[in-house]
């Protein structure tokens, strides 16, 4: 088994595939523009408000969005919205192999099913790494531009949110990978994936939590979304989650392992 070979293979397959590059480009664009435009949004919001507005006073004085220490969690949480975009890339990269039967030809040519899965995991890992690097660059850029404090120890305090974001994207994409291997058709996979991650599980966990008093942190999407918690209550309430909890990381990585194992099992069991 050759890890480098599987990554090279994925690179050869998709470096000329335009929809693939377009969606990835969209991801990078959305990611950067959202971070950069937050400042403009805030300024616009402030200019629209009356001078005696409480909210304006509050926003103006109280929210250190781009201050170092806080910036990593703020940006990290903001960027989690965009993790659905690379999920489509992962889904397409698998389903196109089924629809064109190239997975079959890959196996005939002498690739093992394990190597095939490994090449897709390589893609997932590469996108996750790219996401973490993007978050780091964006945070450095905005922080150095706007933060009132710029000391070394402040910059790298809470830097773990960058790593946590990478892990969050990785686990999320592993779920997308599993969905693609399970369903094999791109359209159906994307719809089911969207429905489950954005509707079914959030609604189900909400009902279970509020009506039946369940603890729901062990559900896959719930756990993945919890890795970087909503940072903004800290500016209004005294109750804060300003760190990454090992429990969330462990549960998410546990689910990622399960999804990859199930993908391998499906791949192994089914005839092509």
């Amino acid at each position: 088994m050759n890890v480098r070979k599987t990554i090279e293979l994925e690179y050869y397959k998709f470096k000329h595939y335009k929809p693939f590059l377009l969606i990835l480009g969209m991801y990078v664009f959305c990611f950067l523009i959202s971070g950069i435009s937050v400042k403009s949004w805030r300024d616009w919001f402030l200019s629209e408000q009356q001078d005696d507005d409480v909210l304006k006073y509050f926003v103006k004085s109280g929210i250190p969005l781009f201050d170092f220490v806080d910036i990593w969690q703020n940006l990290g949480w903001l960027a989690t919205i965009f993790k659905w975009i690379p999920a489509f890339v992962v889904i397409i990269s698998v389903t196109v192999e089924y629809s064109q039967k190239t997975i079959k030809q890959n196996i005939i040519d002498g690739l093992s099913k394990k190597e095939f899965l490994l090449s897709k995991i390589g893609l997932v890992a590469a996108i996750s790494l790219l996401s973490a690097v993007l978050l780091f660059l964006l945070g450095m850029f905005l922080g150095l531009l706007y933060s009132p404090v710029k000391g070394m120890p402040y910059i790298f305090q809470n830097i773990q949110f960058v790593g946590a974001y990478g892990i969050e994207v990785f686990c999320f994409l592993c779920f997308a990978l599993f969905a693609a291997f399970l369903i094999q058709r791109s359209g159906v996979t994307i719809i089911v994936f969207l429905l489950y991650t954005a509707c079914i599980e959030p609604i189900a966990t909400a009902i279970l939590h509020w009506n039946f008093d369940w603890t729901v942190w062990y559900f896959p999407i719930e756990a993945i979304n919890l890795i970087i918690r909503v940072p903004f209550q800290k500016y209004a309430l005294s109750f804060v989650h300003d760190q990454v909890y090992w429990r969330d990381i462990a549960v998410s990585l546990g689910w990622a392992t399960i999804f990859l194992a199930l993908s391998y099992w499906l791949l192994k069991r089914r005839d092509l």
Binding site: Q100, I108, R269
Partner: protein, 309 residues
């Protein structure tokens, strides 16, 4: 290295309780053979190839490449196409070959040479989806040849092609055969197998019902076709001759069953002596098609004689 390229023993594939696609198949292919796997549609040809190529899981039995077992690494030494040519539609011929080459761990593949061999060099930078079916099929052959493999496997290589495309693919296969490769072809086109294969096996409902050399199956028969201007004279002369077993009408003239003393040339000499000029005379050979149908008929009658348990 042993001479056995592929050995299949008791290979079985059961898709469901009712569907038994391949039933305890034994097969052995040796180096240098051009082996035709024949059978009607749905007789288990593609399933058999799918199993030995690792894309269909086997229910029972075993297969072994080069006497070394069924490890996936051994498939890198094969060149195989199952059913349709499967390539990335958004990649060009060359880029597709790069992917295949990487899978097969080939150090320095001769992409230009291969593309020239199959006549795709000029179009090698266009995306695969713009190719005609014949071009796709030729690219498939190029990719199969990529690793300079000892063994090539084609499944219905001329399926869906026009006559010109069929002729091109057939010529390519003959060229490859002349390079001394072992070739395994699955086909339901008997004419194709007769033209290119040295050995063949016939599958029927997943069972092997015949296995042998093509030449042995195509022995000359004792039938001679004769055409002459005066058919009634010809008939009356022949009816008085010893060794003529049967005479029947045929669009070209007469079909004559003779015993072993006669051949086309001796019959010709004999007729000239009797002042009959023939404009057509040929010793009939049985075609693979006739042989194939005969094999299937024998098999059917055997099945109907065997009482069902």
């Amino acid at each position: 290295m042993s001479d056995t390229v592929l050995k299949i023993e008791q290979l079985t594939k059961r898709f469901s309780k009712r569907i038994l696609a391949v039933d305890a198949l034994d097969l052995e292919i040796t180096r240098g053979q051009v082996f035709g796997l024949l059978g009607p549609n749905g007789s288990g040809k593609t399933t058999t190839l799918g199993m030995v190529l690792g894309v269909v899981s086997k229910t029972k039995g075993s297969y072994s490449w080069f006497g070394k077992g069924d490890d996936y690494q051994l498939r890198k030494q094969l060149g195989a196409i199952l059913e349709q040519p499967n390539f990335y539609p958004f990649l060009s011929a060359r880029q597709n070959l790069v992917v295949h080459g990487r899978i097969k761990d080939i150090r320095k593949p001769d992409y230009d040479g291969l593309l020239r061999m199959v006549g795709l060099l000029e179009r090698s930078n266009d995306p695969f989806k713009t190719y005609s079916l014949g071009m796709k099929q030729r690219l498939a052959i190029a990719s199969a040849m990529l690793a300079d493999p000892e063994v090539l496997i084609f499944d219905e290589p001329t399926n869906g092609l026009d006559p010109l495309g069929i002729a091109e693919i057939r010529q390519l296969i003959l060229d490859i055969r002349d390079l001394g490769k072992t070739i395994l072809i699955a086909s339901h086109l008997l004419d194709e197998v007769q033209k290119v294969c040295s050995h063949f096996a016939v599958l029927r409902r997943g069972k092997k019902i015949y296995n042998g050399g093509v030449q042995d199956a195509l022995q000359s028969t004792n039938t001679i076709a004769v055409g002459a201007a005066n058919v009634s004279l010809l008939r009356s002369v022949l009816s008085d001759t010893r060794g003529i077993l049967n005479v029947s009408e045929n669009p070209d003239g007469l079909l004559i069953d003779v015993n072993n003393d006669w051949s086309a040339s001796s019959l010709n000499t004999y007729l000239v002596e009797h002042k009959i000029a023939v404009h057509y005379i040929q010793q009939k050979k049985s075609s693979l098609e006739e042989k194939f149908l005969e094999i299937l008929r024998e098999n059917d009658s055997m099945i109907s004689q065997t009482p069902n348990p």
